[in-house]
């Protein structure tokens, strides 16, 4: 790894991504054992600095840090709509003065992790910044695909739903393209940015066309807070056109897998039959998330400062 921080997939080389995925394989074994812990980062401290609500990502980072034998602090931040740049940096410096080696940050404004990384010596890990990136989600998705399919290069992979507001989609596009996958985006025109083809992806505005011969389907959560803002008429209408149903899934390859970053809106973007069915790898994604986050922290700790 070149940098002390993980700010986004955009900054990573394919080689670095593969190093993280290979290292995560070792940690996947560790968390499957009776003793799910290794002493690799004993004595170090990780601080969760979440300016946006999150249960699974925060818990996943917390467990990952604990399984590396680190101490973990969850910094409670009162929900404020806008945090001024000044006080944000002060918060990070305070956390660093408390002895943090890792600052794991989620913020509603894009670019916050990048700003902090220039101000503190601790490793900054982006756990989601605005509509920019959510790198560890893309890494755990790639790890899960590789585990299930044995490779990523050459696979037909679709990301379905609200691409425009999704940092998960963005990180996944960067990651999958770097690893050689063919990426399709499926969703209504209002939710897919106009110039996104420049990233080397194909856009479909119909499930029936986009799902053909797919190896992997990545469903995105439809963000309820966007409802009534003109992106789509209603959740019913959205479900009618874009919900992954058994019938639609049959258009993909017979061994296609279905992914979702969670939390799911059952019946809106995905039906329960599929979410709980044999093609779904949604719960594996959660388990793999811990292994991938362990790998990221382990590798960043080894970067020369």
């Amino acid at each position: 790894m070149k940098n002390k921080d993980l700010l986004g997939i955009k900054e990573l080389s394919a080689e670095e991504i593969n190093l993280i995925l290979d290292t995560a394989g070792g940690f996947r074994d560790v968390i499957g054992r009776d003793i799910k812990k290794v002493p690799a980062l004993r004595g170090k401290t990780a601080v969760n600095l979440f300016f946006e609500p999150s249960t699974r990502t925060r818990t996943s980072f917390e467990l990952a840090a604990k399984r590396l034998s680190m101490d973990v602090i969850n910094f409670a931040i009162p929900m404020s709509s806008v945090v001024k740049g000044e006080s944000l940096i002060d918060t990070a410096l305070t956390v660093q003065a408390l002895g943090a080696d890792f600052i794991i940050i989620r913020h509603s404004s894009s670019g916050v992790p990048h700003l902090l990384s220039t101000k503190v010596k601790a490793s900054i890990i982006n756990a989601g910044d605005g509509t920019d990136e959510h790198p560890t989600q893309a890494l755990l998705d790639a790890f899960t695909i590789k585990e299930k399919k044995g490779k990523i290069d050459g696979l037909e992979i679709a990301i379905v739903g609200d691409i425009a507001h999704s940092r998960v989609a963005k990180s996944n596009i960067y990651c999958l393209k770097k690893l050689g996958a063919k990426v399709r985006l499926i969703g209504p025109p209002t939710l897919i940015p106009e110039k996104i083809q420049e990233l080397g992806v194909t856009v479909f505005h119909s499930m029936e066309e986009g799902l053909k011969d797919l190896d992997v389907l990545m469903m995105l959560r439809i963000q309820m807070e966007r409802q009534g803002k003109g992106f789509f008429p209603s959740t019913d209408e959205y479900a009618k056109n874009w919900c992954l149903t058994t019938e639609r899934l049959s258009l993909a390859k017979d061994d296609a897998i279905v992914m979702h970053p969670g939390p799911m809106n059952r019946g809106i973007e995905i039906v329960s039959e599929i979410a709980d069915g044999p093609r779904s790898v949604i719960l594996e994604q959660v388990t793999n998330g811990i292994a991938v986050r362990m790998a990221v922290m382990y590798l960043l700790a080894g970067v020369k400062r």
Partner: protein
């Protein structure tokens, strides 16, 4: 500057003798298993197992162990750690584990390997087998089976090259260039 310390024949003879010693000390091969430390140790463990099979006509389980997560030098090493797989497909509890490594030096790798094995279960005993003991221990660790004792200086390195990694079997001593 490099000097050959062991050739293929020397290595073969040493491994044959060590196989005999393992059987002798353990009075047979019951409850015995070999665990090679990544990477060189893994190949040597497989060779020892096949030697033991020739002598005692019994298969003994062989595993591989990666000690990266148990090392104590993550911050001070120059190179990024490469994590290899730990593949131990058998229950280690109540087994006699023979750790196999290529070179015994400071003893820190063996300390890490013992911790790693202990996290997998509770073996009844752990023994240590190394192809080369080059001295300079920093921990109270001693090998039970040694291919060859080679006194070295701290400015030298010992390299075990094996066929499995595309080399000719041999052990060589190298003088480390002064670092600037």
């Amino acid at each position: 500057m490099s000097k050959e310390l062991m050739n293929k024949k020397d290595i073969d003879r040493a491994l044959t003798r060590m196989a005999h010693e393992i059987i002798e000390k353990n009075k047979g091969t019951g409850n015995l298993c070999l665990v090679g430390i990544q990477r060189g140790g893994v190949y040597l463990a497989k060779r020892l197992a096949s030697n033991i099979k020739q002598i005692d006509k019994k298969d003994i389980p062989v595993g591989s162990l990666d000690i990266a997560f148990y090392r104590d030098d993550l911050n001070i090493r120059k190179a990024q750690p490469v994590v290899r797989r730990t593949e131990i497909s058998f229950e280690v509890t109540n087994l006699k584990i023979i750790l196999v490594d290529d070179v015994l030096f400071t003893g820190r790798s063996i300390r890490a390997a013992m911790d790693a094995v202990m996290d997998l279960g509770r073996p009844s005993a752990i023994q240590l087998s190394v192809l080369v003991d080059r001295g300079h221990r920093e921990l109270p660790i001693k090998a039970d089976y040694v291919g060859k004792n080679i006194p070295t200086a701290l400015t030298e390195t010992v390299e075990v090259q094996l066929e499995e990694e595309g080399f000719e079997d041999r052990v060589i001593l190298k003088k480390v260039e002064e670092e600037k």
